[in-house]
């Protein structure tokens, strides 16, 4: 049956088989096919010794590849091994009753078979087996033919296998190295899984891959690759799930060769080659990488150990990267959490440091609102501050900040802050809520002095109708009272109107501690303000004491000087008057004398002012006085003086002015001083009006003495200072006139009110309460 031409033909076919592909499975299957044809056998199997394991693995076969595939069982392999140990051809016939040497389904239905070791340099590298279904005995010549092929086949098998493996190993090692580099550059778990799925398919020459991770509800597809399989989509996944489950449960690789029947599971037919490799992340998830449809052209190929090992190596690299990514992400999370904590502490620190004046408090509160709405902070959509008015029992909208409004750089940095109108401020500026149990959540925050956090849409009755109308129907919000000691200063409201994101416990906690700190800061500022006030009172008291001491010393000096000056002045003035009257009316000397008299008057007035200001710290000696008489007397002193300036002094004194108990001299002095100024400042040809009457004052019945002039009035800039000692606009005065007047009046429990009509004139109202008339011996 054999001939040399047939032999050549066979050699040609085998050589062709080895040239067509570098894949030993393709090479050996083609060779087996050629051998079967040449030997007239129904089946031909080629087993190749795997050097690492010392096992013979089915690498090539004639006919269609069955699900038996390459996973030959060890018992059958053992028999093959015996065959090879014998180092010679084994013939078998079913009649002999001994088991078929061909393992698995391939051996079924055979009537005879021949098994022959293929040796290379005296050592077996492969086994060649042929089987016949119709022949009771192996045909003659088959042994020789097999022996002759064996010699040629051995080097080809060896060389092919080693070259192939070497090349593939190199390729795979290179790819794995790149994969590992690539994976380590990824920081995203999903990207990493996708890369593993893709690279797994490419390295194993698969059409695609599915990467599944065990979740709460079973294995979920986390990455899918179908790049090598045109027309395959995620929906059209190979039915890998049962095998993936099996692989995960048993913790070992499950392989299915197609077309064929699925192992277990009722032997359902499968259309795809499958390789399901379980994996476990370091301290993390478990999953399965399913590679499918290893193909060479149209020819489906079973997965070999090379693919399995490659895929396992890839998964090891991948798991390592996933672990690194996990660690990095954890570090990042921790960093973020630390940064957030630092921000919280910074905010709290800033609040705790911030004092003192009320402007600072508003700035501080705005800064808190801005921090809790900032993206860097907690990113509440909006925050509002309501201030509590305990007198009126209301909450009033005060501040509003929306997420994204720029943070003020620092609570103390006054100028910084969002520009333009503050829309949310305006939005709630008109919102006033009565603090009653039935007026909603804000009122309850005040009344119960506690915080609220609402994570679900709440009904309008709970939130409060007013609030809903102004702030909208907010899905999640929180309210926190701003407490200072036991007083509720206000309420902070935050919400997530836009995002509807629930308010997290952590955020709520920060809000509460920020509010607590702010309350303390406000409390401190109140205390500081009280201290400040106390301090300024002390300073004022000290200044007044010093003034008193100065004035007492001045008074003594003035009194002693007064005597020495007043007497000569009396003589100078008195004799000048006489001299003037001696001169004829047209004598120029009269004019000179007038000037001397005028100047002496001024000196006397100055002297009177200085001594009386110095003395005015003394007690008020009250006695019942007719105000009508007192004022008439004062007016009398000025009538002549005013006439010179052509100013009319009009008295408007009702007879009904009550008798009043006062220090006549002091009040007289006060009236004189005011009248004097009124005359000085009056326009020429104008009228000065002196009037008085009983009037109801703030603190009871009293009298008001009014002195009105027509003139320029007082420069508004000077108005604050006119009562200060030594303040004068006249250049010739002592600046004590009004100071003395005011002191005298305030000594009586009264006050001087100035009604200044700039450009028209001024009215000085001397308001004196009617004090009880003191008994004899009392001097008020």
């Amino acid at each position: 049956m054999s001939s040399s031409s047939q032999h050549r033909l066979l050699s040609g076919e085998i050589l062709k088989a080895f040239q067509v592909s570098s894949d030993p499975q393709v090479q050996l299957s083609r060779t087996a096919q050629a051998l079967a044809g040449w030997l007239g056998a129904d089946v031909c199997l080629l087993y190749v010794l795997e050097m690492e394991s010392g096992r013979f693995l089915l690498r090539g076969r004639s006919g269609p590849v069955s699900s038996e595939g390459i996973a030959s069982n060890p018992e059958e392999e053992g028999r093959l091994l015996e065959t090879t140990r014998a180092g010679a051809l084994q013939l078998w016939a079913s009649r002999s009753g001994s088991p078929c040497p061909l393992p698995g389904p391939s051996g079924k239905g055979l009537r005879s078979a021949a098994v022959m070791p293929v040796e290379w340099r005296g050592r077996p590298v492969a086994v060649m087996a042929v089987g016949f279904r119709k022949r009771a005995r192996v045909p003659e010549g088959t042994a020789q033919d097999m022996a002759s092929v064996s010699g040629a086949l051995a080097p080809l098998v060896r060389g092919s296998l080693s070259r192939y493996y070497q090349t593939r190993m190199n390729e795979i090692a290179g790819v794995l190295l790149r994969v590992s580099e690539r994976l380590s550059a990824l920081s995203d778990v999903q990207a990493c899984l996708a890369h593993i799925a893709r690279t797994g398919a490419q390295l194993t020459e698969s059409s695609g891959s599915v990467l599944r991770i065990q979740g709460e509800n079973g294995l979920k597809v986390r990455a899918f690759f179908a790049g090598n399989l045109p027309g395959t989509t995620a929906i059209d996944t190979p039915n890998d799930l049962p095998f993936a489950r099996e692989a995960l449960e048993k913790g070992r690789t499950v392989q299915v060769d197609a077309p064929g029947l699925a192992p277990g599971d009722g032997g359902r037919p499968v259309r795809h080659n499958l390789l399901c490799i379980p994996f476990e992340e370091r301290g993390g998830d478990r999953g399965v990488l399913c590679l499918f449809d290893r193909k060479h052209g149209e020819e489906p190929l079973p997965y070999t150990r090379l693919e399995r090992e490659t895929a396992r190596a890839l998964l090891r690299v991948g798991m390592n990267s996933l672990y690194q990514i996990g660690r990095e992400n954890e570090v990042r999370r921790m960093t973020t959490s630390l940064q957030r904590r630092v921000r919280e502490l910074t905010l709290l620190h800033r609040i705790s440091r911030a004092v003192i004046d009320r402007e600072d408090i508003t700035r501080l509160l705005r800064s808190i609102l801005e921090t809790v709405t900032s993206v860097e902070g907690y990113g509440f959509d909006r925050a509002f501050l309501f201030l509590h008015d305990p007198q009126e029992q209301t909450l009033r909208g005060h501040l509003g900040v929306a997420s994204g409004e720029r943070l003020t750089h620092d609570s103390r940095d006054g100028e910084a802050g969002p520009q333009g109108p503050r829309v949310l401020d305006e939005m709630i500026s008109g919102l006033t809520i009565p603090v009653r149990r039935d007026s909603g959540i804000l009122a309850r925050t005040v009344l119960e002095q506690r915080s609220f956090r609402m994570r679900l849409p709440s009904d309008q009755d709970l939130v409060g109708e007013e609030v809903v109308r102004h702030l909208g129907n907010v899905p999640s919000f929180a309210t926190v009272p701003l407490l200072s000691e036991s007083r509720v200063l206000g309420v902070i409201w935050v919400d997530n109107l836009r995002s509807a994101r629930p308010i997290e416990a952590e955020e709520y906690q920060l809000l509460k501690s920020a509010a607590a700190q702010a309350g303390l800061a406000v409390e401190r500022s109140f205390q500081a303000a009280a201290l400040e006030q106390l301090n300024s009172q002390l300073v004022e008291l000290r200044n007044r004491l010093m003034q008193w001491e100065k004035m007492a010393a001045l008074g003594e000096m003035a009194a002693s000087v007064a005597h020495d000056i007043r007497n000569p002045l009396v003589s100078i003035g008195g004799f000048t008057r006489r001299l003037r009257n001696l001169l004829p009316d047209d004598d120029r000397g009269r004019k000179y004398a007038d000037i001397i008299i005028q100047e002496v008057n001024r000196l006397e007035r100055t002297l009177a002012n200085v001594t009386s200001y110095a003395r005015s710290y003394g007690v008020v000696n009250r006695s019942p006085v007719s105000l009508y008489g007192l004022l008439s007397e004062c007016a009398g002193l000025f009538r002549e003086n005013f006439r010179k300036k052509q100013v009319t002094l009009r008295q408007d004194l009702g007879r009904g002015i009550p008798e009043i108990s006062l220090d006549e001299r002091q009040i007289k002095q006060a009236v004189i001083n005011v009248l004097f100024n009124a005359g000085e400042a009056a326009a020429e040809h104008s009228e000065v009006v002196l009037s008085a009457g009983a009037r109801e004052l703030d603190r009871g019945p009293g009298v008001v003495i009014s002195i009105t002039n027509q003139g320029e009035g007082i420069d508004p800039r000077d108005l604050q200072r006119i009562f200060r000692p030594f303040f004068t606009t006249k250049g010739t005065g002592t600046g004590l006139g009004l100071a003395i007047a005011q002191r005298a009046v305030s000594g009586h429990g009264g006050e001087i009110r100035v009604d200044n009509r700039h450009g028209e004139g001024v009215t000085f109202n001397i308001c004196l309460p009617i004090a009880p008339i003191p008994g004899p011996g009392s001097d008020g």
Binding site: H563, L569, V570, G574, T576, T611, R665
Partner: protein
């Protein structure tokens, strides 16, 4: 201006300053009064006894006996004679020692106030 005649009232001006005494004399004589003067308390008391004036103007600060002591002595002798305290100081106004006087004026170059008091006290003001 009244002319000097026998019916004119006599005023005793007590002041340690000569120019003041001279001014008062001139001014009051112009008003028609007879004026006698004294430079200190002793002289004042002597002239009071000797001349029997109708009114006294009395300085307070004087060397030797001061005006307040002089006032006491005057009141010991004559409870009715009007005495006007005429001084450069305002602070004696509330000193109970001067309550025994009939008026209190602070010296000034304009003697109108003093003259008004004299007129009133002598019952000539109508």
């Amino acid at each position: 201006m009244k002319s000097r005649d026998d019916s004119s009232r006599t005023i005793l001006v007590v002041d340690d300053e000569e120019s003041i005494r001279f001014l008062y004399r001139e001014e009051l004589e112009d008003e028609g009064y007879r004026v006698i003067t004294a430079a200190d308390g002793e002289e004042a008391l002597r002239k009071l006894r000797k001349d029997g004036p109708d009114l006294v103007t009395l300085d307070i600060r004087m060397p030797g006996m001061d005006g307040i002591e002089v006032l006491h002595r005057i009141r010991e002798m004559d409870k009715k004679i009007p005495v006007i305290m005429s001084t450069a100081y305002g602070e004696y106004r509330h000193d109970f020692n001067v309550w025994a006087s009939d008026a209190y004026v602070i010296k000034t170059a304009n003697l109108d106030e003093l003259k008004a008091h004299i007129k009133r006290l002598l019952g000539d003001d109508d």
